[in-house]
């Protein structure tokens, strides 16, 4: 009565079948190796980048210091009128005492040139701290000038003929004598973190840039986080779906792709031009960065809100929660880890952003850290930009060191983002 469909006998051991199987396996292996090669290339690039930055930057984390016996000459130092005190004379006298055979002002000046230009501020600070030092002789450790720092670190080749060297034989001889006497020492370069910018590489530090970046990011966060979350909640949970909301959505997505330099120009025209806000200030920088971070936060927040399963919304609605209770008591808390992750990644992007800050003048040469977000300042990426543009040998390694510091901050922020994601990840 019933027809049976005859089965087609398949011979799994036939040569065709086994060759087909082999071809399939080959294709799979090819894909696997191609993947491994691309990962390898990516890692190689990253490796080259890191090696080149670290190899040129590591030396900036160390600074050569020399210990000199300073006689705080009452003739030269007037405790009540420090600005007029002649600290240069004190240093010159100190060096003269160290090298009694040196004669002539010109030669003495060359000798004193071993010391950093900032040495006079070091000894002035000692007097400010303790005026009783006047008349005493004290051993003080001061940074050496950049060229000697390079010499001590081995970046100046002594074999080069004298006329092509940045230091002549006499200068090297002076320095070598200090080394022999055990007065020269390379120590960790705290100045890199605790000094602001300077014309002299051995004195230049990132304090101003770090504080500037901090103020800028804080401003950016305070502005973009609440506004971004508010906008995302409205668009995702309350806005009616129509042409207009579609238009807004498309525009927000496009905004995220606008080149940052455009935001810089906008800030230049609006914040500085129309509103006359303080140029070069981290506050304006933060506002500019907020413009860029806003779309990132909105997009991340919407994605996080969307990822909350509908069953939770239904559950809340089912017991009689109002729409806004559903959003604020159930959906938002569950979306928070995702929102925070997105925000941190947006802020990390903002931290590395250079172009808009250049346009609002955050690449000014400023030798003191900003006290408030409204003072002129640089930021980490613009500081890197400034140093990369400076000719002194010492700034080359400091540029790389600053890049390492910036990368360090970025890695830290991303690590926090990853931690949050893993810590609060939920499975439903």
């Amino acid at each position: 009565m019933t027809e049976t469909t005859p089965t087609r006998g398949i011979d799994w051991a036939s040569p065709e079948t086994s060759s087909r199987l082999k071809a399939r396996r080959r294709r799979q292996n090819r894909l696997k190796y191609a993947g491994m090669v691309s990962i390898g290339i990516a890692f190689l690039m990253l490796g080259i980048l890191l090696v080149s930055i670290i190899s040129s930057g590591y030396s900036a984390f160390v600074q050569t210091h020399v210990e000199i016996d300073v006689f705080f000459d009452p003739e030269a130092i007037d405790v009540d009128d420090l600005p007029r005190s002649n600290f240069n004379a004190v240093l010159a006298a100190t060096m003269q005492a160290q090298f009694p055979e040196v004669e002539g002002t010109a030669e003495l000046r060359r000798l004193t040139g071993i010391l950093s230009d900032g040495a006079r501020w070091t000894i002035r600070d000692l007097i400010v701290e303790n005026p009783d030092l006047v008349g005493e002789t004290v051993a003080v450790s001061v940074p050496v000038a950049d060229t000697y720092d390079q010499l001590y670190k081995g970046f100046i080749d002594r074999e080069t003929p004298e006329q092509f060297r940045r230091l002549d034989d006499a200068q090297i001889a002076y320095f070598d004598r200090l080394v022999e006497e055990g007065r020269v020492e390379a120590t960790f370069n705290w100045a890199l973190f605790f000094n602001a910018d300077s014309r002299f590489p051995e004195l230049a530090g990132l304090k101003g840039a770090i504080i500037g970046s901090f103020y800028a990011l804080a401003t950016c966060f305070v502005l973009s986080f609440p506004v971004g979350i508010g906008a995302a909640i409205y668009l995702e949970e309350f806005a009616p779906r129509n042409r207009f909301s579609d238009l807004i959505e498309v525009n927000i997505n496009n905004l995220a792709a606008v080149p940052s330099v455009v935001f810089g120009l906008l800030a230049l025209a609006v914040f500085l031009g129309w509103f006359g806000m303080p140029r070069s200030s981290p506050f304006v920088g933060g506002m500019t960065l907020a413009l860029m971070t806003l779309p990132t936060i909105i997009i991340a927040t919407r994605a996080a809100l969307k990822a909350v399963p509908p069953s939770i919304r239904e559950a809340a609605l089912g017991v009689g929660a109002s729409r806004h209770q559903v959003v604020f008591q159930h959906v938002l808390p569950l979306a928070m880890p995702g929102i925070l992750t997105g925000t941190i990644i947006g802020l990390a992007q903002a931290l590395g952003e250079t172009a808009p800050l250049l346009l609002i003048g955050m690449n000014a040469f400023i030798t003191s850290a900003p006290a408030t977000p409204f003072d002129s300042s640089t930021a980490l990426p613009t500081q890197i930009f400034i140093w990369a543009d400076s000719p002194e040998r010492g700034f080359v390694s400091r540029t790389s060191a600053a890049i390492m510091v910036l990368l360090g901050f970025l890695v830290m922020m991303n690590a926090v983002a990853i931690y949050l994601r893993n810590r609060f990840q939920r499975t439903w």
Binding site: S311, I312, E314, A315, G318, V319, G320, S322, Q325, L334
Partner: protein, 265 residues
């Protein structure tokens, strides 16, 4: 005007808790519910049966206006609970849902503690005057949900850490905690094993003393066991509605008969 409403209410109150008249539901162009009229009595269990996609969930969700949350859904017709039109603009759907509780097909506890799951509804509706009062409400709801014995020592552990059947009973406890007058259940046992199912059925039978319960189920046996009234839906139409015993033993419509005997669906 008020008097009129009261008078009308008195008439309608006489027999039905929920009365639906000519209800049509559209999802965009899909006509999901077609001219359904039904009266659901108080203190009874009413079962909705029918093949998949026939509109049982859709109709159930009309009764507490859950369909409001679906943008493309459109509801026409009249549904009255205690004589009050629930689609009247003066009705707050939030208030309505406190009065008409719902248990979903898939257990969906909040990712909060067991206690907070149950306490949430009473809290937002201001049903508890004090902490002790709230504790009492939670305990009573959990007892009703037949979960108290298992949960009393772990009230502050997450509700999502319970087994599937316990989670479903937690959802039932959560639904009854606001003291609703009607309880809607959409395939509450589809994710449960026979033992948990038996517990939930027992529970439904118990709830009948206080509530009007409407349950959607794919199990004929379950409908026969727990319900007093049964409604059979087919392709968006309410084909037959009557005493459960009569529907299962002596169906009037051929489609009902084919469905219960397993020929359609």
């Amino acid at each position: 005007m008020n008097d009129m409403k009261l008078a009308e209410k008195a008439v309608r109150m006489s027999e039905a808790k929920i009365s639906a008249r000519d209800v049509n539901v559209f999802y965009g162009d899909t006509h999901a519910i077609k001219d359904v009229s039904v009266d659901i009595a108080d203190r009874t269990v009413t079962a909705f049966i029918g093949p998949s996609g026939c509109g049982k969930s859709t109709f159930l969700r009309c009764l507490n206006r859950m369909n409001d949350t679906i943008d493309i859904a459109r509801v026409e017709g009249e549904i009255r609970i205690d004589g009050q039109d629930i689609y009247d603009p003066s009705i707050d759907p939030v208030q309505l849902r406190a009065k008409v509780g719902m248990v979903f097909q898939k257990p969906n506890p909040f990712p909060k503690s067991i206690y907070d799951n149950v306490a949430y509804g009473p809290k937002i509706h201001g049903l508890a005057r004090s902490k002790a009062d709230l504790d009492e409400i939670v305990e009573r709801a959990l007892r009703r949900g037949a979960l108290w014995e298992e949960a009393k020592d772990r009230l502050h552990q997450p509700g999502t850490g319970l087994s599937g059947g316990q989670q479903q009973r937690l959802c039932i406890a959560r639904a009854v905690a606001t003291e609703p007058e009607v309880l809607l259940m959409d395939e509450p046992c589809s994710a449960l094993d026979p033992i948990a199912t038996a517990q939930v059925e027992e529970l439904i039978d118990d709830l009948r003393k206080n509530y009007s319960v409407v349950i959607v189920t794919h199990s004929m046996q379950q409908a026969a066991r727990v319900s007093q009234k049964t409604a059979f839906f087919h392709l968006g139409n309410l084909v037959e509605f009557g005493e459960t015993g009569q529907i299962f033993t002596n169906p009037k419509d051929r489609r009902t008969e084919s469905y219960i005997t397993g020929r359609i669906g």
